[in-house]
Amino acid sequence: MKWGRLALLCAFSMAILFAAPFIGVPRVPFSELFVLPQADDISVLWDLRVPRVLLGWVTGATLAICGMVFQALFRNSLASPDLLGVSTGASLGAVIYIRLGLSFTLFGVLSGLSLAAFLGALLATFAIYMAGSLPRGGMSEATLLLTGVAMSFFFSSMNMIIQYSGGYIDTFRMMRWSMGGIRAVKFAPVYAPLAALAVIFVTAIFTAPELDLFVAGEDIAESRGVSVSKLRRRLFVLVSIVVGVNVAVCGPIGFVGLMAPHICRRLVGADHRNLTIASLLFGGAFLVVCDTGARTLWAPGEVPAGILTSCLGSLFFLWLLFRGRERG
């Protein structure tokens, strides 16, 4: 039955991935691709829509898997990458970059803003990691989690100080950035997040048995042969870097990492091998739907996708929660 659900989810996710580029203003009818294709339409489709939809799917899938790994590592259903300082660290990097009035592009493809955000994410990870391993005997799940939350608030405050001190235009750019959005022109911005997704997907699939045991608790995991603190350290750093790569390109996109794993758990159960695949498919589809909404609902204007994910996600999540409660 679980394989059936996974197959359905796969079909659903792929359908959305292929349909989404044809939705939007200007409309690019599917039929036109084969009969009398127009240069403008082809360009809209291949240079704007397809990269953007692909980036959206990759981002949603990455955040969902990263959220799943964090929730297992910390045995806490509220753990998610955006809660643990990585996203706020990235925002801080981006905000500093804008405030300093920097503007450069590395190798012609890597924007300075993305680089600054990525450095911010790395720095935040390093700080949390160091602070979390200060207590003797290594990091317990609770210290690491609380360190992350505290650091996140600290970075947010720095963020606001810098925003507050900036001029109108800077502040506007900073705010826009920290709302998160899927922006891609041609395929260059997709490569790094796609590579990061591949890394975290393979890692999650291979460490699925360990993640199952993590959920069962530290003592059980250790007594079944998992080196808990070593693996937790590694996964924490890896997830943070992967999220850092993504946030650098898309900005912080809330709630996907928190919510998608929960919904997938309800669909396919607690087994992390199935859950990884489900999170990939569902997270990707969910963000593409949100982003398609973000660029069509107010067409020709658009809203940042991050706002829609949080809004739709939280409502959907509440509905799931209360529906589950009624059934007991």
């Binding site: 045991l213 059980i220 007594s223 607690a270």
Partner: protein, 264 residues
């Protein structure tokens, strides 16, 4: 003298947060025996078990198994020898009994491995031994205390080790389920020849099945040796600061012990 003991614990000491928990614990255990670690609350029983099984690592002293210090082995290698039934933390797990037993096969797998036919056979045998075949597809968090305890023993058996550690396995169980759990543990010890170390504060349960007794008080070994010697020495009142009375136990060689009041 064969010279090589099965379990050998030498000058083991542990401090947590600056407070001494265990002081200079020494003992050894032969293969296939069942040892009960007894003592009052806070004596360091569970901590000692966790040190031996390396769930605690920052203690001093050595724990060797067949002459090899366990500190030289990876957690995975240790998990091929020692299986655990833990005291707490299993009442809310989102797994079925069979899934939880399957998770115990982890130490035998390398890399990306799905459960093999042989794994499933071992799991099935474990479920049969622990008497939980009918509960196999139930969620752990839907089981009663006694059922869950047997499910946890099944999971430990599925790990395929020759040593079993149990931390207060009869806590929170009513009398029938205490007896049931204990008989299961004794059967595993006698029929499958597993070496068993059990931590308990229930002296009657300890004396019923254990060959050896290790009595702890305030982190120090007060006494260790065979159970009949333990009874002859009248150690109990010293360990628990409570006087005990012995009652004849029909059909059993070991008397039943009941606390009768404080030692003043």
């Amino acid at each position: 003298m064969n010279g090589m003991r099965f379990f050998d614990i030498k000058s083991l000491s542990l401090s947590l947060g600056g407070a001494p928990i265990l002081r200079d614990v020494n003992f050894s255990l032969e293969k296939g025996k069942m040892l009960a670690i007894v003592g009052p609350n806070g004596a360091g029983k569970s901590s000692l078990l966790k040190c031996i099984g390396r769930l605690y690592k920052n203690f001093s002293g050595t724990v060797s198994l067949e002459g090899t210090p366990l500190s030289e082995l990876s957690m995975k290698k240790i998990a091929r020898r020692i299986a655990w039934v833990h005291q707490t933390g299993t009442d809310t797990l989102p797994f079925t009994v069979r899934e939880f037993a399957r998770m115990s096969r982890y130490p035998w797998h390398e890399g990306f491995a799905l459960s093999t036919k042989e794994d499933e056979k071992i799991i099935e045998n474990a479920l049969v031994t622990a008497g939980v075949v009918s509960l196999a597809e139930r969620q752990l968090n839907s089981l009663s205390g006694g059922e869950r305890q047997r499910a946890l023993v099944a999971s430990a058996l599925a790990q395929g080790t020759d040593i079993l550690f149990l931390d207060e396995p009869t806590n929170f169980l009513d009398y029938r389920h205490q007896v049931e759990t204990l008989e299961l543990i004794e059967r595993i010890n006698q029929e499958q020849g597993m070496t068993v170390i059990i931590v308990t504060h229930d002296i009657n349960l300890a004396l019923h099945g254990a060959d050896e007794i290790l009595a702890l008080k305030n982190g120090e070994v007060l006494w260790s040796g065979g159970r009949s010697a333990f009874l002859e020495k009248k150690m109990l009142s010293q360990i628990f600061d409570t006087s005990f009375e012995e009652f004849e136990n029909p059909g059993q060689e070991i008397p039943y012990l009941a606390p009768t009041g404080f030692v003043r």
